[in-house]
């Protein structure tokens, strides 16, 4: 039992170290040796928990994505109206990006740099958005949401948050509560009929 606990802790420490280093130094300055040092283990130990560096990144991506998903759909029920449900999810996502900055930033990097996460993991990660896609489909059937590709809906309703987060991270822009309301307004205007 003690062993198991210890193991899980080291695994988590390694994932956290990777998250931190990739965000702060960039992928090309997050060598295994630094990750190991930050997690307070030997470089060789990483290979007990992960197959190789790619596997470490993939696993971190998937687990962070799952954590994002949990956050995004907190309190969401399919019984909610399309409009209420969408605002709930949208705000959850926004708050995730505001409060879980490192996780959000890491996911954004993975989604933008094609070579970072492998195709299989990316596909796997996509599944996490299913409830939102279902909501949109329902909205389209009800004539509330524009009858356009979910890619377009995502591009205009969710993706802009990534830009705003990036700008906030660079201190070029501050995502105040007011700005957030304006942003939601724009998102809704973009996709509602």
């Amino acid at each position: 039992m003690a062993k198991r606990t210890k193991c899980i802790e080291k695994r988590i420490a390694l994932l956290n170290a990777t998250l931190h280093l990739v965000n702060n130094n960039g992928f090309h300055d997050a060598p295994m040796s630094k990750i190991a040092k930050m997690a307070d283990v030997s470089p060789a130990t990483i290979y007990i928990y992960f197959e190789n560096k790619q596997d470490l990144i993939n696993k971190l991506y998937l687990e962070t994505k799952a954590s994002f998903s949990k956050y995004a759909f907190k309190d969401y029920l399919t019984s909610l109206s399309v409009e209420t449900g969408f605002e709930l999810i949208w705000r959850n996502i926004a708050y995730f990006k505001l409060n879980q900055v490192e996780e959000a930033n890491f996911l954004s990097q993975c989604d933008n740099i094609s070579t970072m996460v492998d195709e299989k993991s990316r596909q796997e990660g996509l599944k996490n958005l299913q409830p939102l896609l279902d909501l949109w489909e329902r909205g389209q059937k009800e004539g509330i949401i524009k009858p356009i590709s979910p890619y377009l809906l995502y591009a205009y309703a969710i993706y802009p948050l990534a830009f705003l987060m990036k700008m906030q991270h660079r201190n070029d822009f501050e995502l105040s509560e007011d700005n957030l309301t304006e942003a939601f307004e724009s998102a809704w205007n973009a996709i509602k009929i």
Copy 2:
């Protein structure tokens, strides 16, 4: 007195090779040796045309950004109405992303990976959007565009195109003429009053 002349073709070949490799292999797998091989020169030759790798990336970024800017504001006149002017610019940008896939993709990577282009070059590159910001300001004065931060306007009017381009590049989605019109509609809905 005579000498072999530094030929601009080699410089261009090097920039093209870099563009291609960064797009296909990612920044962290675009070593100088591969760039040289692809441009059909010796690795040492790169250093005749560029100070170092960072300088090569910076210059490529700035020149690609300038080329983007030229494309984005083609046929644009400040005498056009806000609505017409915006649609013109928006479509120019969209076509740039559709037709100059590699350039667009490279710029997207540069803007997303903080450590890729240095701060000075990024600031320099930002200037290229000024005419669009001016147009929005005019639109706000005329009561046509929402009185919100330009960052929000950009996030909802322009940034979504980056996502659509990425999806198209991955063959997940096709940006047909119809989709483009839908996308423009959403962009306009998001920012117009």
Copy 3:
């Protein structure tokens, strides 16, 4: 918990290889790759034992200087008379140069090429001569040694040995026991009152 232990033998092999290569090929033709090959390790292994090339050279200098110092003051006691003490130290130094040819040659190179060893290490290395300087000071107080700068004393009493060693190394000259006695005579005549 167990691990492969960093073996001191490799460190020594690396220092020896460096000593040998710098002496035979000169500082500018003693690349890390050759040092590694001669010590029978991978180039990367050097960096486990030394920070970088400068550090390797510095450490070799300091350790060789310390070894020289031990040799130079063997059997020396401050209770000896100035004359006896000086001859003892002088002969120790001469024998060091005769018997530890590579060490002596390396130290000579380091002291002559200003850019080889960094200033801090050079200053550190100077401390090793203190007992001789003390002896000279005593000799001056006793009216046996000329009341001149220790730099002058060193220049005429010790430094000439470097030249003789160099000539012997080039087979231009042989430092026989007779020559050694003549050399000591000259050294003593140069500094005694």
Copy 4:
């Protein structure tokens, strides 16, 4: 005629640039490109005047040595007494080291770093000291100079100046007129019977 003059000037500029760079940056940071830049010519031009880098260094060594020799035996006549002649030459050499710092420093580096100048040039350079060796031989015949190897005479009479010059160059020591007289005294005491 004009051409010839121009050529000689470039050759001299190259030799001066090399002298300066080797002294200030050390041999390992005096690349052909820097030498060319400092002499205000193209790197390729160096190869019109010199076979290669080794040849450039060799020639510089020999010409500097010749210049040294001219300086060393200024006003010297074989008709002078051994004692007077020796002091004259000794002081000439000392002043050369004091006044022609760069030349002296360069010669010292060449004589100390075995791999810098090739054997043939070194042997050639040795001839420049012949008048001094002749003087010593005469002194020995006259019973004024110790009957010991000229290498020993050189080691104690001339070589110490190199050390004093080096210390002066490092600002550790100042070769005042008084010190110079003390130094000469030591030199003479070391070799006279």
